[in-house]
């Protein structure tokens, strides 16, 4: 593994090795002194061309716990500055002699395109509606903590599947680990050809939740609700929100995940988000451990 550009292309073994490494990293995060010298002297650039506080901070903490220097580069504008090419950006980054690049961009494919143009490892921290592999790995780690193994488990992913990079990476990682994955949402939010990725689409929340071991609730973006995909927030909240009533259709103790930040009362009710089966805060903790594992495997000595 030279880069982490997506879950697509990772073998089951590579995924399991990342999760095992992340488990070991969790232990470091629980120490009094939460820092090991493993990546001392390494420089990691967090290139966030689309703003995201949570993911950036998670990567930053992960780098610091491994004693790497983390530098944040944030784009002021929306994307590449005018007339700057990907090749220009790549050569600028290489000239800084950094050891690893973490890239978040609002456009699908940018981490892959940069990886083709630089010699250092690249980690995709979310690209458009394509992939968000570290989110998927932390979700898989969270579910593994709940169930021991995902083999044969039923996981429902609910929301705007078409525009969600989390959905794509999640369904790929859960399927790779042997789970049965259902994706659910109104048909306007289910992308064409999704069955080719090995999942079954559901157009009813109740059907998708029946007998599920876990539910991943996706964040609904306001602009989608007001666009052509859905008539409005009220209709969504009344028919697609995960509430205590709808959650009861899943297996008892079903795990509830959400990539955050949550829209209370829209895709998830507070009564569910804050209650016991919710693993939303564990996800945040696991996020740091997974990102430590990724940085370690890509820059560490064990390559």
């Amino acid at each position: 593994m030279r880069h982490l550009l997506g879950i697509e292309g990772l073998s089951r073994e590579e995924i399991l090795r990342l999760l095992d490494t992340a488990e070991a990293m969790l232990e470091i995060s629980q120490r009094e002194v939460k820092r090991v010298p493993t990546l001392r002297g390494k420089t990691i650039v967090n290139l966030f061309l689309e703003p995201s506080t949570r993911t950036r901070v998670s990567f930053e903490i992960a780098a610091k716990r491994l004693s790497a220097d983390a530098i944040n580069l944030q784009a002021s504008g929306s994307s590449l500055s005018k007339k700057e090419t990907l090749a220009d950006m790549a050569s600028n980054l290489e000239a800084m002699n950094v050891d690893l690049l973490v890239v978040r961009d609002r456009t699908a494919g940018v981490p892959k395109m940069l990886a083709d143009r630089v010699r250092i490892p690249v980690v995709n921290a979310g690209d458009g509606a394509h992939e968000h592999p570290t989110q998927a790995l932390l979700d898989a780690l969270t579910l593994r903590q709940s169930f021991g193994s995902l083999e044969g488990r039923v996981v429902a992913i609910v929301g705007d599947i078409a525009h969600s990079r989390v959905a794509r990476s999640d369904l790929l990682v859960f399927s790779a680990l042997g789970a049965e994955v259902r994706v659910a949402g109104p048909p306007t939010m289910i992308p064409p050809g999704i069955e080719a990725l090995g999942v079954k689409p559901y157009f009813s929340l109740e059907d998708a939740l029946a007998g599920a071991d876990a539910v991943v609730v996706l964040r609904i973006q306001q602009e989608r609700l007001e666009g052509a995909l859905f008539p409005g927030e009220r209709e969504y909240a009344q028919n697609w929100s995960l509430t205590r009533r709808t959650l009861a259709l899943a297996k008892p103790e079903a795990a509830v995940l959400h990539p955050g930040p949550i829209n209370r009362g829209v895709e998830i009710a507070s009564e569910v988000a804050d209650a016991e089966p919710s693993r939303i805060l564990d996800q945040v903790t696991n996020g740091v451990a997974v990102r430590m594992a990724v940085l370690y495997q890509l820059t560490g000595s064990e390559q």
């Binding site: 697509e8 994307s79 590449l80 007339k83 090419t85 990907l86 090749a87 961009d105 456009t107 699908a108 494919g109 940018v110 892959k112 395109m113 083709d116 690209d127 458009g128 509606a129 394509h130 992939e131 078409a162 990079r165 794509r168 992308p191 064409p192 050809g193 999704i194 080719a196 990725l197």
Partner: protein
């Protein structure tokens, strides 16, 4: 003076159906004789043993970018690319800067062609002023100035009533209206074909129906107006069916397909290669199969390149930000020969689709090797394998999806009015 003789070439002339080893002789810029062991001693002799001799290719759809975007291409560089690809006639699209929507611009393009082009350049004028889809252009004056067809290519005439009037008016000058069929609303922000690949890539797709609903509309309007509609770069299988049915009903429609749509599918977008981004997009394998069948049965009359040069720095950006379009003049022949190897076309048919068929579609005097015709022809090494590098392309821009792919068949010589305008051997 007895000028030039090409000896012992395999002559492929779709107009006459001829396919045999012959000598061809040129005098005064025209084909003067065609036969076995011609008598006399011409001034120049080209030994063409093992080569094909075909009519010069005719491209109904090229963007030569002059005036206004000479950093991408100009008439000189574009015509050099054309010559290297075997094209002796190129029809250039109107979306230049300024737009070719007035006789003065049409005349300017023709003058620049006389000054700098190696091949024949025939301007296509805009169908509406400024490509705005509102007021039609001065089609009668434009025809007199040398426009061979009318098109807002790149833009779509959204308003069906405007499209109707454009077709009706063009009927009066008996010139085709070329339609780029993509419903702008259905296409939306789509940057590739909508399907499993767009879902996996996380890129916004544009469904095949964005094309076919517009094809259906324009076919109905062609029937209503009785005008000649030419459908550009057909990409969807459903469009082929609609055109086939319209032809059966007697609608005056012709259609073209590009070498890239005949070759690739949306699968090659998976690595976010912006040289695989064009409009309409590469579609599914089933669509590609339908395009090949449509080309074979004549539903799609001919091949046209939609040669659309863009500078390297314009393409080296995010997939969504990159401009649509690929160059195509220099790789059209090997792409068609691959279709021949797939069994869909004969060799003579492939030559026809590049030369005689497009000339006939637009009523151009080209694409034939009959005695007395202009001596525009091409010499082809049919088995020559090559992998194009950017430096192999004569076009000023290198945005080709065929780069570094194994191609078989290459143009080795191109002649316009009997003058050699391209020689692969000498590299000029």
């Amino acid at each position: 003076m007895s000028g030039l003789r090409i000896r012992k070439a395999r002559v492929l002339d779709p107009a006459s159906g001829r396919d045999e080893e012959l000598d061809l002789e040129v005098e005064g810029g025209r084909i003067s004789a065609l036969g076995r062991d011609l008598p006399g001693r011409p001034e120049h002799v080209v030994e063409a043993d093992g080569l094909w001799l075909a009519p010069g290719f005719v491209d109904l759809h090229s963007h030569l970018r002059e005036p206004g975007q000479e950093y991408k291409e100009d008439i000189a560089s574009g015509s050099l690319a054309a010559a290297a690809g075997g094209f002796t006639t190129v029809c250039c699209m109107a979306n230049t800067d300024p737009v070719n929507d007035s006789p003065a611009i049409t005349e300017y393009i023709r003058r620049r062609a006389r000054e700098s082009a190696r091949v024949r350049v025939r301007p296509i004028a805009a169908a509406t002023q400024g490509l705005r889809g509102e007021i039609m252009t001065e089609m009668i004056s434009l025809t007199k100035a040398g426009a061979v067809a009318f098109s807002d290519d790149g833009e779509v005439i959204r308003d069906a009533a405007v499209m109707r009037r454009v077709l009706e008016y063009a009927r009066g000058v008996d010139r085709p209206v070329i339609a780029h069929c993509e419903d702008p609303d259905l296409r939306g922000a789509g940057v590739m074909h909508e399907g499993g690949c767009s879902t996996a890539c996380g890129l916004t797709g544009s469904p095949a129906e964005a094309e076919s609903v517009m094809v259906a509309r324009d076919l109905e309007l062609a029937r209503l107006s009785g005008a000649h509609l030419h459908i550009a770069h057909v990409s969807a299988g459903r469009s082929v069916e609609l055109i086939r049915e319209a032809k059966e009903r007697g609608v005056r429609v012709t259609a073209e397909v590009t070498p890239h749509h005949l070759t690739f599918t949306d699968e090659i977008v998976r690595n976010y290669d912006t040289n695989a981004k064009m409009a309409p997009p590469l579609r599914s394998a089933r669509d590609r199969e339908a395009l090949r069948e449509g080309l074979a049965d004549g539903t799609l009359d001919c091949v046209a390149t939609d040669h659309a040069p863009h500078a390297a720095y314009e393409k080296d950006v995010e997939f969504t930000a990159a401009p649509f379009g690929v160059v195509g003049l220099e790789t059209a022949l090997p792409a068609l020969l691959a279709v021949v190897r797939s069994g869909a076309l004969s060799e003579l048919e492939a030559v026809a689709k590049l030369s005689h068929a497009p000339a006939r579609a637009f009523g151009l005097r080209a694409g034939t090797l009959e005695v007395g015709a202009l001596a525009d022809f091409v010499l082809i090494a049919p088995e020559l394998a090559w992998k194009p590098e950017p430096s192999d392309l004569r076009s000023r821009s290198k945005n080709s999806p065929f780069l570094r792919r194994e191609l078989v068949g290459r143009v080795v010589g191109t002649f316009v009015a009997g003058e050699r305008v391209f020689d692969l051997g000498t590299g000029s």
